[in-house]
Each structure stands twice: as structure tokens, then as C-alpha cells.
Amino acid sequence: MAEVDSKIDYQDKGSILAPLKALQFFGRQPVTAPLDPRPASANYRGFHLNDWETCIGCSTCQKVCDNAAITMVEVPGLPHDPEQGVRNLRPAIDYGRCCWCALCVDLCPTGSIALSREYVHTCKDAELDSYFILPDDKGIHGVAYDIGWGKHAESDLIAPERVAMQELSPQARADNFDEIVAGYDPNQAIIEASRCVQCGMCLDACPTHMNAPEYIRAIWQGDNEEAVRQIYRTNPFSNTCGRVCTHRCETACSIGHRGEPVAIRWLKRYAMDAVSTERIKAIVAESRPSFLSGKRVAIVGAGPAGLTTAFDLAKQGHEVVVYEAMPAAGGMTRYGIPYYRLPSDMLDRDVEIIESLGVRIQYNTRVGQDISMEQLRDEFDAVMLAVGLWIGRSTGVKGSDSSQVYRAVDLLREVADGQAIKVPKQAVVIGGGNVAMDIARTLGRLQRQHFGQIDVTMTALEDLAHFLADPDEIKEAGEEGIRILPARGPQEIVQEQGLVSGLRTWGVTSIFDDQGRFAPRYDERDEQIYPADMVIEAIGQRADVDLLGADLTEALEWNRGRLKVDDDFRTSAEWLWAAGDMVQGPDVVTAVANGHRVAASINSYLSIREQVS
């Protein structure tokens, strides 16, 4: 090619003949493209394609769309499961607005949406609606064109990795009860919060529907007090939930479909830690009523369910008295969760803030002994029962009645209460849930303190793929030296001269029968005995309902050993509600959600009764 451009001078007059050279182009094929269809480029931004199998209906595409060209449309028949983070919404595109920037593609958390390699759409006047489409993987005309601009690592705008959490190393934590998780610093929290796309999947999945998008956004904006305000709209146990919540929000998080979900639980904890208790009290007091209803409500049990109900009812102007058998509030969160996961002073903050609304807690008062249910019924307008699950279940295998066989909840309660328990040299824990993990790791710590070494074995019916405990717990327990033996069924607690010497187990072949009922089957040839001087059973708990008394127990309706309640957690007695672990099984945030419903139900009951009378 020419090194130097041809020279035309300003003074040149031009030529009459030069333009005639263009005549040589007569009869040549024009350079313009023929009208035949031709493939668009591999990157082409044509019409939208959406893989409905992959799309979760999170509506992030709608949020980033510059022109409001995307509308989320409900498609009946598609899966809709808030807990798994799936909605039956799909994006519909208005091509009167779309500008084909493809930001919807680049920001799609799942990678379901793409633009096709199709060039043309046109229509008659009568078909103008055809510019508004609900794309699936077949595209605008039902003809499968290849994907043009699709999800690509270079243009992906989703940050798949969360900000790592600082934690104590296994060596640093194995012999003490210091809190393991350090929490985010402000910078980390803002960066982590900035990953959120505000889709609200977390809100749908949370049992108490926490306004996570709002508080995450407030954290990102550096407004921690606003974050706390948003948190307290739905959850008065946020110091607790910020640490030990089962975080279904994170299971549903749309970012989690291809990357790590936003650390919603740690962000909640960050906001709660960042604002002083006094300021939180002031924020909570904003919703204090300016009136008193004159109604009195008694709540039995100062756990998350009971205190959440108390919190809501106090905000509605009712007088609330909570009866608590133990010397401190919190229920199972205090007496069941070890300090290294939930420092009890954090729980104290939650309780202190609830009490600041005027909720009165009568400690060391055991209903059924110090005061009867009948008295409560007579003295109060409504009564709520939230006594939790305090009695550990036993396997009932031979030897389980020995004095060296303990229930996990009893031991955990004693440790939390500051009592010195007998520390075994060799312990075997039966069970594979989070409570089993708690007692195993607690005993491991005590063993290191007493003997300098750890010898704790966990046996569970489930194999590792179906383990009930959180994956984090399994990992951390392993790091701390706990031996985990999955798929082992306890057969006998072996005793020698009246003292426990071990646990005899068989291998498990199946746990449930064809109908899905619990009916474990074992392989008898696969027998092993694990030596131990203490065996701890952690296979579940039940509620202590003796406090009801014989008459009330007789009068109430029951469902397979549990109190029968309606959708609002009201029992068959008009004045009595029951909620929390004793009704729906152990989970803090579910208990909080129950508490709100009970409060709403009691409040409407009191209002209606007042109007009717």
C-alpha cells in the first residue's frame, strides 16, 4: 500500500476528464449487500432470547434497563418457590423503547437472557402489538436464531465473589468460647452491600420478610441508622439473627445462582454492631404509640417468638407481661446456642431494646408452678404460649437410661448458665443436626481446656450429602478436630460395671421407607463400637407442656403431640395462642415470623372484642 497519500494541492484547478474514470464502475456488482438473509455477527445485539429454565424472574434486567422497556410478566405454570429464589415472572420487552444496549444481558444474575443474531422484524399496522414480546429461547419469531450478545466473562457486570469474612483460626478458637466471626469493617460492609442488585428475592424467602434490599442499600449509602430502622420493621432479634440466622435469604439470593450470594446475614450484623444500643432504642422508640389500649396480654416464655409478639403488642399500645422461668431472657437462643456462635451479651442487647418499649419480663417465674394458666387467663385479655423445646428426646436404645447418657440441650443449658459440667475424656454424640454440632464443639473446647486434647465423635444416621447441620458447622467442626461419622445408627450404649464404655452402631442402609416415613434400616454386619465415657443424645427436642395443667390439656385440641393451632397460631381456646419452636420446630427467624402473626392476631382479637362489647 502507498506510504504517502496522493497529493492534491489547494491551488489545483481539477480536471474535466478525471471524473470520467468512474465510468469503469459501470456494470460492476454493487458493494451494497444483497437482500438475501445473511448471518449477523457473533456478537450481534438482535432480539431478546430468554431461557425460561434458567431465568428466575428476579427482575434485575428490568432494573438496569435505561428505557423502562422491560416489564415483568407473571407466567402461570412456571415454578414459583420463594424459598429457592424462583419467581414465575419473566421479562417482556417493548421494542418501542428498547435501545439494544444489552445491559440487561450483562447484569443478568443467572445468564438466562441474551440477544439473538436476528436482524429484522416488521409488521402490518394491525400487528403493532408484535413489538411487545415475552421472549423465550425461541426469540421473537419462534425461529431459533443463534445467541449473539450473550453472557460473557468480559462483559459480565455481576461480582460473583463476596467479601471474605475474618474468622478465628481453628488453633485460635479450639480451646475457648470466643466469638469466631469477626464481622465486617465499614469498608468491607459497603463493598459487600454494593454487590446487591435489589431484586428482593431475599425478602420473599425470609420467613419474616425482612427488608433486606432496603437495609443493604442503606448500608451501602453509609446510613447505618437507616439500615437499623429498616431492620426493626420486621425483626427485633437482629443482633441474634445477624449471627445465627439460618439465612434462607442467602439461599434465594439471585447473585448466588452463579456466584456467592450477598452476605446478607453478616451485613445485618454489621449494621446492628455499627449503631449504639442507645441510638437503636431511639430509633425503635419512633414507633412507640402515643396511647395505651388498656388491654393486657400475658406471654409465657421470653424467647424470640414471645418477645417478638411482646414487641409488636407494645407498639400497639397494649400492656405486655412476659413470664420467664429462667433468670435471663432469650430462651433457646441463650441456653442452646454456644457463646462462640452467639455471645450472650449480644442477646442482652436485643432484649434490652425490646424492654425499652415497655415490655415487662418476670424472670424466674415458672408458669404452672409460680402462677397457673388459669390465673393468666383470668387476669389478662389474651395469653400466648411460647415455651420452646426444652426436653431432649432419647434414642431409647439399650443403656440410654444410664446416668452417663445426657441430652444435648441439658448440657448446653448448664454451660450457658455458667455451671461446671462433668467433662468426659471421650465423648460420643448421637445426632447430626446443629444442636449435635453445638454440643460436640462445646465439649471439644472443654476437653482442650481440661485435658489439652480433644476426643469427640459424632454419629448420625444421615450420610454427608444429607447431613442436617449447616455446611459451615460441618467444616468448622472438622477443623476443630471433631470426628464425624455419617450413616451410623446407634444400637446400644455399652456399659461395663455400670459405667458407660462406648456406643455400638450399625451402618445405615436407608432412613425412610417407601412412604417417606422414618424407618431406618441397618446393615448388621457393619458393626462398630466407639469407646466413650459419656454419650450425648442430640436427636431432637420436645416441648414441656406440663404447665398447662390437666384440665387445660384436656380442653385443648392436639395434633400428634403438638398443640393444634390455626393459621394465626391460635389454639382451640379463644384466649390462647401458641407459637415458636414448640409449634413449628427450632428456628429463630421462623419464631420471629410467628411472633408477628400472633401479635397481629391478638391485636385484631382485642380490637374486635372491644367493638363487639
Partner: protein
């Protein structure tokens, strides 16, 4: 524009008459009105009248996230949209302190120069059409399409690319792209002598263009003229050379100038810039294979992106002249204020109004097109 320009003259002198050119006419690349007061075929006064595009980009941008504005910016100028994207991204990068990877800078230059070439093809075709020659415009548009093919491959869009993003570009080149660009450049270079024969050595065109719409260098500076129009008055000012951005300071190219200051000089400068763009592009193609990625530095989630408070003025050399964004951030998710310094704003208003005076009616369209003004830059 100016309110007085909307009103018809109340009492034109009896020997004068008014003529509206536009808003649809071949003198300019968009809807734009030019109101003339004539005495015979002599222009007594010209009044520019924008406002037919109903856009309001700058205001729109205040209501959108920083990243959502990427889709708006190229739409300010159809023939040469890339400098709009690049300079907006440069502004956001400047405010955020983002460092654009070298490969992305070269890809931006690749895109900018292809766009300049395409825009000049568009312009000389239009210029020729204003003097009654339509073949050059057909040729220009047809050859421009080959560049649009390249854009489609690189960016996924032919006209509006939305390929740049603060921090870099959105995609790397597809396989074999360098070879295809190179082939297209080879072809376009063989076309340069054809363009010369058809237009730039054409006595009719030269005669019609010479001396028309002339301004001297001082006038050009006084009126805010930039780009090829300024260089046609003898001043070798080019933002790429005088205030280098991206990797232009590492590239070897000349700044063509002419002294005539008229339509012919302006056409000639653009013709010579076609060759310089090819020179730049060849250097970029030669270096690109050895420049490693990435093509974008890490950026925040676009839905949660606060740009630090401050203001910046980032300019680039577009095919029309000095194009710049003045962007003010109050530290929020959206621009507090944006302003486009579209070079056509000056060329299509104060320059055109002055150059038209005294010209003949048949030259008005030529004067307009020779200034290569883009109405959306005025009516943005």
C-alpha cells in the same frame, strides 16, 4: 434556540424575501432549519433554528444511573457516535480515578479512527450532493457500510455501538478481526484515488467549492471553530496531538492543514485525514496482538455505583472538531449535571450565520455541509 429566531420578520423590506431552508434538506445531517433573508439570490441574513429533534439528552442523563447513560451518549451524533461514548467514559473514569487497561485504550483508538473514517465518508458524500453530485454520496455510504460491518463484529451494533464502558470496553476483538480490518483498510485505501478522480480532482467540484464560505484563522478562533474546519484555516490544532488522550501520544500521524479557510479547503483537509486515519489504524492493528488484556478494569455493580463528587472536562477530537463532556457529580448514583460541548454547536450556529451572509442561495447548502455540522450536537 434563540427566541427571536422563531419569529417571522414582521415587516421585511419590499425588495427582500424570507426563505426557510429545512428542517428537512440535504444541507445537514439531520433536522435543522436555517431561515434566510434574501435579496434576489443574495443572502442578507441567515438565522439558525434548531429544536426539531426534541431530545434533551443532558437533562435526561441527570435522571439515569451513570451506566445507563452509556446508551444515550452515542445517540447524540449518528454519523460519528464513538467519540461521544469514549469521552463520556473518559469523564467518568477521570472522576472515579479508574485506570483503563492499555488494550482497551488501543481498542478505543481502533474504534475512534474507524468512526472518523466513516464519518468523513458520510460528509464528503453529502458535500458533493449539495453541489449536485450524487455519485460520491452513494460511494461514501456504500464504503461506510463496510466499516459498519466491522463495528457489528466488534461491538454487536452497527451504528450505535455502546461498546465502551467506564473502565474499558465491553468485549475483546473476535478471532480474525485484525485481518478483516486490515483487508477493509486495504480496500478503502485503493478507493482513495477513486474518490480523488470522482470528486477531489473534479473541476466542477473544485470550482464550486473554492472561495465559498471562507473565514480566516482569527475569525475561526473568535467563533469557536475547531476540528477540520479550524485546520482548514491553517492552524494545526488537533486534540489528539495537543492534549493527547488514550494512546494517541504513542502513535505516528500528521495533522493536515490548508490555508484557504473555505469549503474547498475544508473538504481537502477531510480528504487528507482519511489517509491519516488509515495510518493510525495500521499502527494499532500491528501493536494490538502484543498488548495483553484485560480489556476492562474492575468496576462496581452498576446499580450501586456512586461516582465521587467533582467535575471534569474531557475532550476528544471527533470528526467534527473538539468534542467534550463537562460532567459534574455530587457523589451520587447519577450525574448532577452533564453538558456536551458539541463542536457543531458553534459551526451550525454562529459560524454558519456569518458565513452565509453575502453568499448566493445555491451555495448555502454547500456552506452548511462543508462545516460538517451535526444538528443533534446543537439540539442535544
Amino acid at each position: 434556540m434563540r427566541p427571536e429566531n422563531y419569529e417571522a420578520q414582521r415587516h421585511p423590506p419590499s425588495h427582500e424575501y424570507e426563505l426557510n431552508i429545512g428542517p428537512n434538506h440535504p444541507g445537514i445531517e439531520g433536522n435543522y432549519a436555517f431561515k434566510l433573508r434574501l435579496h434576489g439570490d443574495q443572502v442578507i441574513e441567515g438565522r439558525a433554528d434548531a429544536g426539531y429533534l426534541h431530545r434533551g439528552f443532558e437533562k435526561l442523563m441527570e435522571g439515569r444511573l451513570w451506566i445507563q447513560n452509556l446508551a444515550i451518549t452515542p445517540r447524540i451524533c449518528v454519523p460519528d457516535p464513538v467519540p461521544m461514548e469514549v469521552s463520556y467514559c473518559l469523564a467518568v473514569e477521570d472522576l472515579c480515578g479508574l485506570r483503563v487497561p492499555e488494550r482497551a485504550q488501543y481498542l478505543r483508538v481502533l474504534q475512534l479512527e474507524l468512526s472518523r473514517f466513516a464519518s468523513h465518508l458520510f460528509c464528503f458524500g453529502g458535500h458533493a450532493a449539495t453541489v449536485g453530485m450524487y455519485s460520491p454520496s452513494f460511494w461514501g455510504i456504500a464504503d461506510r457500510d463496510l466499516i459498519l460491518d466491522l463495528f457489528e463484529e466488534l461491538c454487536g451494533g452497527r451504528v450505535y455501538h455502546i461498546y465502551n464502558i467506564p473502565g474499558g470496553v465491553r468485549r475483546d476483538m473476535p478471532p480474525g478481526f485484525i485481518e478483516r480490518v486490515s483487508n477493509t483498510l486495504d480496500y478503502l485505501e485503493t478507493r482513495l484515488p477513486d474518490y480523488d478522480d470522482l470528486l477531489f480532482r473534479n473541476r466542477v467540484f473544485v470550482t464550486r467549492a473554492r472561495g465559498i464560505g471562507a473565514m480566516n484563522q482569527q475569525q475561526a478562533l473568535d467563533w469557536g471553530v475547531t476540528g477540520s474546519n479550524l485546520r482548514a484555516t491553517g492552524l494545526p490544532f488537533d486534540v489528539r496531538r495537543d492534549d493527547p488522550y488514550l494512546v494517541y501520544d504513542q502513535l505516528d500521524f500528521d495533522i493536515p492543514t490548508e490555508d484557504g479557510g473555505d469549503a474547498w479547503a475544508r473538504a481537502l483537509v477531510r480528504r487528507k485525514e482519511l489517509f491519516e486515519s488509515i495510518r493510525i489504524l495500521r499502527q494499532v492493528l500491528e501493536r494490538l496482538p502484543d498488548i495483553p488484556g484485560p480489556i476492562r478494569c474492575p468496576i462496581p455493580n452498576p446499580l450501586a455505583w456512586n461516582v465521587p463528587a467533582g467535575s471534569t472536562y474531557t475532550r476528544v477530537e471527533s470528526s467534527k472538531g473538539e468534542l467534550a463532556w463537562y460532567v459534574v457529580s455530587d457523589g451520587g448514583e447519577r450525574p448532577y449535571r452533564t453538558h456536551v460541548r458539541g463542536p457543531s454547536q458553534m459551526h451550525a450556529v454562529q459560524v454558519l450565520e456569518r458565513l452565509a451572509v453575502g453568499s448566493r442561495i445555491e451555495d448555502v447548502a454547500q456552506i452548511m455541509f462543508s462545516l460538517d455540522a451535526c444538528p443533534p450536537e446543537v439540539d442535544r
